[in-house]
């Protein structure tokens, strides 16, 4: 399955897009595995799932995802092990019924080997990669490997990105364009930042690729608000906070279903 074609088809048939983030390898308790969490959020209405490969020094992440990453690493999670579990579960299309993208930091990719990482994603049924500390100017070598293995690289755009650069980022991005909704790291916020709508509008003006807003989209109301300009949203910390609190797959599926219902209602 292909991330961008799936998201485009959903959007073009009149739906708003919802991507859920889950930290891979996190011990979720209650006799469940994180793979079951991924499956549950897909079933509850996520159009794609972003699987975090935990890294020791996640500079784009706030306390919730930092904590989830720490716990996953403590539990012995490795990039190879995590991808093997995804492959064992049938990957995105075969296993979860929705496309998957991994989210990780560049040192994980670098240590794996760019070529071998791209190949492993592809073999594990992962469609895309999001690498937040690999900006456009440094992305060339990875992009070459990713394209070679048909991995879609989702590029991030920020509120501070100048107009000309926004165009270049959209041109380079595949899967979707990830608009970082606020100046800050991932985390749960009380309200949607004004910068989220402004960025979504700027992105929509320069690309017809799906534009999703992530970072600081924390509940159904904020998702609906973001989607007044954007094609969709990424929900991360709000979901992970529930998971860390022990809500299990049913608890996070409930959140995703709630957001999905709100998006369908507009």
């Amino acid at each position: 399955m292909n991330l961008e074609s799936t998201l485009r088809a959903r959007r073009d048939s009149g739906h708003k897009l919802l991507v859920a983030y889950v930290t891979g390898g996190l011990p979720v308790g209650g006799g469940e595995t994180w793979i079951e969490v991924v499956r549950a959020v897909a079933a509850a209405g996520a159009d794609a799932v972003e699987v975090g490969i935990p890294f020791s020094d996640p500079v784009m992440d706030g306390p919730v995802i930092q904590e989830a990453s720490r716990l996953a690493l403590e539990a012995g999670t490795t990039p190879r092990g995590l991808l093997a579990e995804l492959a064992g579960a049938g990957g995105g299309a075969g296993g979860m019924g929705v496309p998957l993208a991994v989210m990780t930091y560049f040192n994980v990719v670098h240590a794996f080997g760019l070529d071998r990482f791209a190949q492993s994603l592809s073999r594990s049924g992962v469609d895309g990669a999001i690498i937040p500390d690999l900006p456009l100017d440094e992305a060339g070598p990875w992009m070459a490997e990713a394209v070679g293995h048909r991995v879609e690289t989702v590029m991030l755009a920020a509120p501070t990105t100048p107009d000309e650069r926004l165009v270049a980022i959209c041109a380079a991005s595949s899967g979707f364009v990830y608009g970082v909704g606020l100046m800050g790291v991932t985390g749960v916020r009380d309200s949607l930042a004004a910068s989220a709508l402004a960025l979504a509008k700027r992105l929509k003006a320069v690309t017809d690729k799906p534009v999703l807003i992530g970072v600081g989209v924390s509940d159904a109301a904020q998702a609906v608000e973001a989607c007044s300009e954007a094609d969709g949203v990424v929900i991360g910390s709000a979901l992970m906070r529930r998971l860390l609190e022990g809500a299990g797959s049913s608890g996070v599926a409930e959140l995703i279903a709630e957001v999905r219902a709100a998006l369908e209602a507009g």
């Binding site: 890294f55 020791s56 020094d57 996640p58 500079v59 784009m60 706030g62 930092q66 720490r70 690493l73 490795t78 990039p79 190879r80 560049f106 040192n107 994980v108 990719v109 670098h110 240590a111 794996f112 937040p132 500390d133 690999l134 900006p135 456009l136 100017d137 440094e138 992305a139 060339g140 070598p141 992009m143 070459a144 590029m155 991030l156 755009a157 920020a158 509120p159 501070t160 990105t161 100048p162 000309e164 650069r165 270049a168 980022i169 380079a172 970082v180 100046m183 800050g184 790291v185």
Partner: protein
Amino acid sequence: MTVPPMAAGSRPFPNNVPAGRVLMQGSPGPTGRFGEFGGRFVPESLVPACAELEVAFANAWSDPAFRDELSGLLSSYAGRPTPVTECARLSDVLGVRVLLKREDLCHTGSHKINNVLGQALLTLRMGKKRVIAETGAGQHGVATATAAAAFGLECVVFMGEVDVHRQELNVFRMKLLGAEVRPVSSGSRTLKDAVNEALREWVATVDSTHYCIGSVVGPHPFPWMVRELQSIVGNEAREQCRKVLGGSDPDYVIACVGGGSNAAGTFAGFVGTGAKLVGVEAAGGAAIGRGGIGVVHGMRSRLLQDEDGQVLEAHSVSAGLDYPGVGPEHSQLAAMGRAVYRSVDDEEVLAAFRLLSESEGILPALEPAHAIAWLTREAGKEIPVGSTVLVTLSGRGDKDVDQIVGLLG
């Protein structure tokens, strides 16, 4: 603001800036590379700020008015030039002729003030009113808090919880200077995590805030800018050594390496001479000695990591060298063989601390005590008897006295 050219998909990696040409001379080019090291691996939110800083520094550095203002501050406020001291008694003990570059005599007690005064002026020039910094030993935090007080800037310093305890005196100093100290409880709770937290804060406040980084680390332009601001150490020392040594340069130039700023500043003055350059790392933080190539804190360099690229925790008695990474220019100097990097363990460091205190009446900080320790161990071995040696004494030991009383009893 200018943005670097879009090069996605087109630039070879590692890029092919000819090694050596950019070395400690001029700028590392728009890609921020020292050979295959360096770069700008930061979230998109920070890319425009790094680009803005690169332009602002390049302009300031070629502006005689800026250089004059900084020189004035370095002399009237920081106490430059610092002397070079010939160590007669230590030389007798070791059988080599030892000269010390006395950065311990700078205002605030270390070389860190050289960098900070430059970045504080730059902060004002960019119209920003707030600085943030990371600190390990607390010397960079104190220097930043000092400059912030002197220039009326708001200042927040991130410091790992472990370091807050072992460098308590510096925490008080920062607070007395009006800075806010934020203890960092994530990860190893030392310098590495303080950098992470400062980067996270910078992402959230980049419009109003300058990140005053404390060493030759981080995304381009920081490694280049901090080396330039510290090059005064080596440039002064070269001329001072020539006076003492009848026109010659020392055979060996030695400096401790945490992120590598005092070493980079020192080496910058001697890279064009025949001196052998030696960086001394802590055995438990030897990014060049034991690390592999990786990407963290915005730069491609050597770092301590496991096979999956997870960054390992460094371990050193000295908070300032308790860092798993190293500045990219040092990785390149090592790759070219222009400098060598050695390491010493905590025990050797404490012995060296004692030796310098007792033989010369100079209490070194634990960081430069590493450089003294390597000198002590290798005088008459790797360093032939009769050699002349310059060691950069990057800071004074006052901050460490409490800790050392505990360790030496």
